[in-house]
């Protein structure tokens, strides 16, 4: 590989600058003073970053949120979100410095020479227009080709990207195709005007693992066949390892390390990169089954609209005291509905719900304060799970006041102790949620649940919105707290890597039914049922050949495809 790397460098030197499609040198991007949170001083978002992408190559940009990945990606199109500006360095595309281009010049460039694929395809499409109109729009606007030619090329691209019914899918509206399909249509849109460079901004982050693998394979194959250059932005090293030739690791707007994919994942030089590579290293030995269930669900059926739509059918599970039960499945499998039933927000149609041996009232309003206290919940999106107008002290202190009637100094003392337990200091008490980072927010939500001294905490995808390193910290904290406070977790997730780091037992759900359940060692080891195998094989692994192997060995097509 190192030989191949050397060779291609020589080849490149041979063709000289003709191969250099995008060259960014000493890029510096700042947010103007009035927009920055602190006020007064302009904040530097990207500092002294240089990179170059040659034709037909893919550069992966990786880092946590706030690392400046998307900012660099957009800067290569001469765009700054929310008034941020390029204040230093140069961005040269096809031999032209885009910083010197006028607005009209930039418009000519965008959509023709450089295209952009956004993270949330659902939000990036116009819901009122048909897919085909949106896919060919850029090509028509720049006069690259006639409408008939552009549509013919779009159909070829749909085929290449593995979309079902490629001849007719263009006539559908965005809401008529699934999330994974929409993401591929967006890739087709980017490829349709035959650009030289495509910027992919976390194109698979919002997708299920089983869908991600298809989109990823489709993007990579299309890239190879059309030989355009690309910048691929993600926070998941295992994902970028599948598509990128080179990887740049960013942190806080600065470059940490740059190298070939193989070098970064096998021989990382910097400590930060090493931490990223070793991210799934939590070893959690499975606790022996104790046969003292805290929560037992039997023959549970639930749904909406007077029983016409059943989301859960005949679900049974048992959560042991101070254990972690992971509920795994893709979106639409009924995981979150199960959480709503357990919390009492959605009374079930039939089935029983037992808490500590006693039947738990089905409706929220019928439950006693003490029953409510013992069952707490942590949400996926920490930023909307906290009232933006309340301070951390109010957020954490309220359950203490509400359940235990403790006020004043004693309450403040308990808040400080909880903040200490979640590894934040007591100086956080006076902050508002907007003054916290994503990981800190989730920690505050954990503290709020903890304040009630619960016996069960339902964790609904608590780490899926976080960066790998941050979510690792959250998982370690949850395990630590379980040891200290003897809390049982009902851990809802789609991420099997998380499951193996935290769970004692696992329930796999598919279309509202339990397809497999048991101890972790039993569920995650063969012999598998087809669905569990599909899920397991779809989790990206940190080696370059994983994608091909996973695609080749599949026995079942994912539901969300």
């Amino acid at each position: 590989m190192s030989e191949r790397g050397k060779m291609s460098t020589e080849q490149c030197a041979g063709i000289a600058t003709a191969g250099e499609l995008l060259t960014i040198e000493n890029l510096r991007i700042e947010a103007p003073a009035s927009n920055s949170v602190r006020g007064g001083v302009p904040s530097i978002l990207v500092d002294d970053v240089s990179l170059s992408v040659r034709r037909g190559r893919v550069m992966g940009l990786i880092g946590e949120s706030g690392a400046g990945k998307s900012t660099i990606g957009l800067a290569s199109m001469g765009y700054g979100r929310g008034g941020i500006k390029i204040t230093g360095g140069s961005v040269v595309v096809n031999g032209r410095d885009i910083r010197k281009l006028s607005k009209a010049g930039l418009r000519k460039l965008r959509g023709k020479e450089i295209c952009y694929v956004a993270q949330s395809a659902a939000a990036a499409f116009n819901p009122a227009k048909r897919l085909m109109d949106q896919v060919v729009e850029a090509a028509l606007m720049h006069g690259v080709s006639s409408r008939a030619d552009a549509e013919a090329r779009a159909v070829i691209l749909f085929k290449k990207l593995g979309l079902p019914d490629p001849e007719k899918i263009g006539r559908r509206f965005p809401h008529q195709v699934s999330g994974g399909q929409l993401q591929r249509v967006m890739t087709a849109m980017a490829l349709c005007s035959e650009p030289d460079l495509i910027v992919f901004d976390e194109p698979t982050t919002a997708l299920d693992v089983t869908t991600q693998i298809d989109v990823l394979a489709a993007i990579r194959d299309a890239m190879r066949e059309t030989s355009v250059a690309a910048i691929y932005i993600t926070h998941d090293l295992a994902v970028v390892a599948q598509v990128a030739d080179e990887i740049m690791v960013l942190r806080g707007g600065k470059m940490v390390e740059q190298g070939t994919t193989r070098q970064i994942i096998h021989h990382p030089r910097q400590d930060y990169t090493k931490a990223l590579v070793a991210v799934h290293d939590i070893q959690h030995p499975e606790k022996p089954a104790a046969a003292s269930p805290i929560l037992a669900i039997d023959r549970l059926t639930a749904g909406y609209g007077n029983g016409t739509i059943k989301v859960l059918e005949d679900v049974a599970l048992v959560l042991e005291k101070a254990h972690t039960l992971a509920i795994v499945g893709e979106s639409g499998s009924g995981k979150s509905t199960l959480a709503r039933v357990i919390t009492g927000l959605l009374p079930p149609m039939s089935g029983s719900l037992k808490f500590d041996g006693k039947a738990l009232p089905a409706r929220l309003a019928e439950r006693s304060k003490n029953e409510l206290r013992q069952l707490q919940m942590i949400y996926q999106m920490a930023d909307v799970a906290m009232n933006p107008r309340q301070t951390v002290a109010t957020i954490i202190g309220r359950p203490i006041e509400f359940y235990f009637g403790i006020k004043g100094d004693e309450r403040d003392r308990r808040v400080a102790k909880l903040l200490d337990q979640i590894e934040l200091g007591k100086e956080f008490a006076n902050r508002y949620p907007s003054e916290l980072s994503g990981g800190q927010k989730q920690r505050i939500c954990i503290a709020r649940a903890l304040a009630a001294k619960p016996r069960i905490i339902i964790c609904d995808e608590v780490t899926s919105a976080l960066d790998p390193l941050v979510s690792n910290g959250i998982l370690k904290l949850l395990l630590q707290l379980q040891k200290e406070e003897e809390i049982a977790y009902l851990f809802i997730t789609h991420d099997l890597a998380t499951v193996s780091s935290i769970a004692d037992s696992v329930v796999v759900m598919h279309r509202g039914r339990v397809v497999r359940s048991g101890a972790k060692s039993q569920v995650l080891n063969p012999p598998f049922d087809p669905y569990t195998e599909l899920l397991l094989s779809s989790v990206p692994q940190l080696n370059e050949g994983w994608l091909d192997g996973a695609i080749a060995s599949r026995r079942m097509q994912p539901a969300g495809n």
């Binding site: 009492g344 919940m377 799970a385 309340q390 359950p399």
Partner: protein
């Protein structure tokens, strides 16, 4: 929190005008050269050093009545708007928090009230309950609270879908806590902006009713009835009757300038 130099010029102008109106309303008795209802000269005197803006149809000093008019019209409009907001915002929050039947009953009742043109409905109710300042205030407040209800319900429902409201429900919090601590703080900016606009409308409605003879009754000075009383002068090319109207217009413009700025800030829009 808000720096003085960050306020745009238009909003600064609006704030200064509003402050001047408020000061005039408070110190009307001290500033006015004569008593509110005193007949000090012959009717329709011209502008002079003794009667700065002349006299009206009964020979009362125009300038004095303009100052007292600020106190009466502004005071009544303010009290009315406060009551309208208390009623409307409470109803809207209750509808958003409980939903279901509560929401249906409240909303349909409000729909019925809103289906009748406001001015005609106000005339009708005033002729039933008689024309006094308390009934004027209550009738306009109830009619105006329907608009406040609609707005509050709409913005509050947007807030109730957030996880933090669900989290407080799961905690077992009562409706009062959810309404006042979880929802209200998040919709206050919108309500404050709406308060400014509603105040303008109430103020215009009162002036309109007064002009029609159903609002504030003589001898209490009021800008609406002042326009009517001296309206004949317009035919002689005298601008005096337009002065109370101009006072109304200036205040309406000033309030809207401030509200625009406030809404702009609250919505987080950026000039781009």
């Amino acid at each position: 929190m808000i720096k003085l130099r960050d306020i745009p010029l238009s909003a600064k102008f609006g704030i200064i005008v509003i402050i001047m109106y408020v000061l005039t309303a408070i110190f009307a008795a001290q500033l006015a050269p004569y008593g509110e209802a005193d007949i000090v000269a012959t009717p329709f005197e011209a502008w002079s050093s003794q009667f700065w803006l002349g006299t009206d149809n009964l020979g009362r000093d125009m300038f004095t009545r303009l100052l007292f008019g600020a106190r009466n019209t502004l005071g009544i409009a303010f009290v009315t708007t406060v009551i309208a907001f208390a009623l409307g915002a409470t109803g809207g929050l209750v509808a958003a928090t409980f939903g279901g039947w509560t929401d249906q009953i409240l909303s349909r009742f409000v729909d019925v009230l809103m289906s009748i043109p406001q001015l005609i409905f106000a005339l009708l109710l005033l002729s039933i309950f008689g024309i006094s300042i308390p009934s004027l205030i209550l009738v306009i407040a109830v009619l105006d609270s329907t608009r406040v209800y609609r707005l509050t319900r709409a913005v509050a429902i947007n807030v109730t879908v957030f996880d933090y409201v669900e989290a407080s429900r799961l905690r077992g919090e009562g409706a009062i806590w959810i309404m006042t601590r979880e929802i209200l703080p998040n919709i206050v900016p919108t309500l404050i902006a709406e308060f400014g606009l509603r105040f303008c409308f109430v103020f215009l409605l009162i002036s309109g009713l007064s002009f029609l003879g159903l609002g504030i009754q003589p001898p209490t000075a009021d800008w609406g009835s002042m326009v009517r009383d001296s309206a004949t002068l317009i035919t002689y090319g005298d601008v005096t009757p337009l002065l109370p109207a101009a006072a109304i217009a200036l205040l309406a413009v000033a309030i809207n300038l401030v509200v625009d700025w406030f809404l702009h800030r609250a919505s987080g829009l950026k000039d781009d």
